[in-house]
């Protein structure tokens, strides 16, 4: 029986032996397939809508010599929306994957522990003219940070494993949701209507600034998350073992939390609370990956795919009416969450 990892890994090593790298074959293949799927879904998202653009027309436009109408629909309407959706999905999924791993709890994702709702409440506060003039992304970040601190702080005695931690999040989410309602009901109707799509999760209420902030956050957060991955993986072992391997679990958790707050806050500032993508995408990515890994890239790609598909579905199903993408993901995701919760031998701890 051979014990070389060569069958499941590619081993890269420089001549001087100072540089060596293991590339997991399965992860690479999964990521390539997901990337291809993402490209496919993106093309579909650019092509379909109230105006269907044939593939040839789409190609012409992408190559820079399409017709005026097609150019306008694709580059002005659909591409920015596709970008916003993809980035939001990737950021939420990455945040979810990080948080699941560091809390060692499959359900510990931003939406479920109330971070989305809190970020939304804060972002709404800056939109509906409550006198706060800080930009929505900054407000959403503040909200996300406060809610995370509350959720983890309140779980102090009982820890983040198990269901109790999640209930604390549920309560935080309920309070945040109520505060959002208070603000909406206390301002002028026009302001409230402007903020409404946001509160259910929609790609319609985005501002360019917030998308740019999210892109920058992802460009910063994704490499940092990858750099953290080696340490994150060991968090899956019992804590004494992690310490014994020379890791400071507290520092790794803090770093992971800061990253997931950053990503969640910026994503919510773009699209509001998108139900369950942060839970579904990492779950799917884990199913596709080898056991015991932390599939950050696969989760991010899956999150982007989910958002793009959900947004497309939301635009097409009841066309010309548009279903907010947050409702689509909630509808698709809740049955899965119920299944996790009600399985006979449900173990949410990793």
């Amino acid at each position: 029986m051979s014990t070389t990892p060569a069958r499941t890994y590619w081993h890269l090593q420089a001549q001087q032996r100072q540089f060596s790298l293991l590339i997991e074959k399965r992860a690479l293949i999964v990521n390539l397939l997901l990337a291809a799927l993402l490209v496919f879904c993106s093309l579909a998202s650019l092509a379909f809508g109230t105006l269907t653009i044939p593939l040839s027309g789409l190609m012409q436009t992408l190559l820079g010599n399409g017709s005026g109408m097609h150019d306008f629909v694709v580059t002005e309407l659909r591409w920015p929306r596709l970008l916003a959706g993809g980035l939001t999905g990737a950021a939420l999924a990455l945040a979810g994957c990080l948080m699941q791993t560091l809390a060692r709890n499959r359900l510990a994702t931003p939406g479920i522990i109330g971070i989305d709702n809190a970020a939304t409440a804060f972002a709404v506060a800056s939109v509906v003219g409550t006198g706060i003039s800080i930009a929505p992304p900054a407000m959403a970040l503040t909200g996300a940070a406060i809610a995370t601190a509350l959720a983890f702080g309140l779980s102090g005695a009982t820890g983040t494993r198990g269901y109790r931690f999640i209930i604390a999040g549920l309560a935080i989410g309920a309070i945040s949701g109520a505060i959002t309602q208070v603000m909406l009901s206390s301002v002028a109707l026009d302001d409230a209507n402007a903020a409404y799509p946001w509160t259910v999760g929609s790609l319609n209420a985005r501002t360019d600034g917030s998308v740019q902030a999210l892109a920058a956050g992802l460009a910063l957060g994704y490499p940092l998350a990858l750099a953290l991955k080696r340490a994150l993986v060991t968090l899956q072992l019992p804590e004494p073992v992690t310490i014994s391997l020379g890791i400071h679990p507290g520092r790794v958790r803090l770093a992971g939390l800061v990253l997931s707050i950053l990503l969640t806050g910026l994503a919510v500032a773009v699209a509001g609370p998108i139900g369950l993508v942060a839970l579904l995408a990492p779950e799917m990515a884990r199913t596709l990956s080898r056991p015991g890994t932390v599939p950050l890239t696969a989760a991010a790609l899956t999150g982007a795919i989910l958002m793009v598909i959900s947004d497309l579905a939301g635009r097409l199903i009841l066309a010309p009416l548009e279903i907010p993408v947050g409702i689509v993901t909630a509808l698709a995701g809740s049955p899965y969450l119920l299944w996790i919760l009600l399985r006979k031998s449900s173990d949410i701890n990793q």
């Binding site: 309140l154 198990g162 269901y163 109790r164 009901s185 206390s186 909630a330 049955p335 119920l338 919760l341």
Partner: protein, 328 residues
């Protein structure tokens, strides 16, 4: 069984809260005039505001609070779970969804709303009971609540979908869905009365066996009760009560959690004491929340559900924070 020192103070509290709700409101009515109306005098306008606007609200708050408080206490005892609550477990969401479907189908008469709402609550209750039968879920109070919250979220999303499809339905659903007891009239209240009386009789009948059921099914059987029948009775009562409350005020979260929690803290774990205390405490909570919802952002109004969530979520946190969740 009323022998708790807090019983009469609780009724006095309800009286005070009720009086406050008649005296204060968003309108420009002066306090003196409101008093005059209560004394049987007052101007035409003052009489209209107090008797036609505020009094029905008070009555509906009374019925809703009564129903939700008792339903919460019953459901908690039945599932032996202090977190079980019609709002959290998806029973209210079930009836809200049923009503939304009915509105989408073109219905809008008050009678039908109540019946449909109760049917939806019954379906929700059935799901909850099924879930507690799953190994591991029934024993874990927290997991059941999470599943209920997820079910609620799912049904709420479906309701949002309905609102998207049908603009007329959306207008009818929108205000009602966040929970409100404003703008309801006596007629709607009377449609729920028969079912309230029925569930009242059921509660009286099951209270004693339920108390022994709390000791376990086998003990209850040994004491000569029939657990299956008792459980069925409780489920029906909870469905009728929650359905009526939801038809009147929309899906209200946390009322059924907070009221029995406070009642148990004051009166001890015996279900009969809890139920007696829930009678004044439930309405007191709803009416106080309703008065607050009128005053906080006056002259506009805040959804009642928002206030109950703000009051209830911290209580949920307190229960969770205690190291061991006592099974009931």
């Amino acid at each position: 069984m009323k022998s708790t020192p807090y019983y009469w103070p609780a009724w006095i509290l309800l009286g005070l809260v009720g009086l406050t709700s008649l005296l204060f409101g968003a309108g420009t009515l002066e306090l003196r005039q409101a008093f005059a109306v209560l004394a049987g005098q007052g101007t035409e306008e003052a009489r209209f505001i107090v008797l036609e606007l505020r009094l029905p609200r008070l009555a509906i708050g009374l019925v809703t609070g009564l129903a939700l408080g008792v339903a919460g206490a019953l459901l908690q005892t039945l599932t032996r779970n202090p977190l079980a609550e019609p709002g959290l477990l998806g029973v209210s969401a079930g009836s809200a969804f049923a009503v939304s479907l009915a509105i989408l189908a073109g219905a809008s008469t008050a009678t039908l709303t109540t019946l449909v709402s109760q049917a939806g609550a019954l379906a929700g209750c059935g799901l909850v009971i099924l879930a507690t039968r799953i190994q591991g879920v029934g024993q874990d109070p927290v997991r059941l609540v999470l599943a209920g919250a997820t079910l609620s979220a799912l049904l709420m999303s479906l309701t949002s979908l309905i609102m998207l499809i049908d603009q007329r339905a959306a207008d009818e659903i929108r205000f009602w869905i966040t929970g409100s007891i404003a703008g309801k009239n006596w007629e709607q209240l009377t449609t729920t009365l028969p079912t309230l009386v029925i569930s009242g009789f059921i509660v009286i009948a099951v209270a004693k066996p339920l108390a022994s059921l709390a000791l376990g099914e086998r003990v209850a059987r040994g004491l000569g009760h029939r657990p299956g029948l008792v459980q069925l009775g409780v489920v029906i009562a909870v469905a009728l009560l929650t359905g009526s409350a939801t038809a009147l005020a929309g899906p209200l979260m946390f009322v059924g959690l907070v009221v029995p929690f406070v009642a148990r803290a004051l009166g001890g774990a015996d279900i009969r004491k809890t139920l007696w205390l829930c009678l004044p405490l439930g309405p007191a909570m709803i009416i106080a929340a309703d008065t607050l919802s009128r005053l906080l952002v006056a002259p506009s109004e805040m959804p009642l559900g928002v206030i109950t969530a703000l009051l209830g979520a911290p209580v949920l946190l307190v229960i969770i924070r205690t190291r061991r969740i006592p099974t009931l």
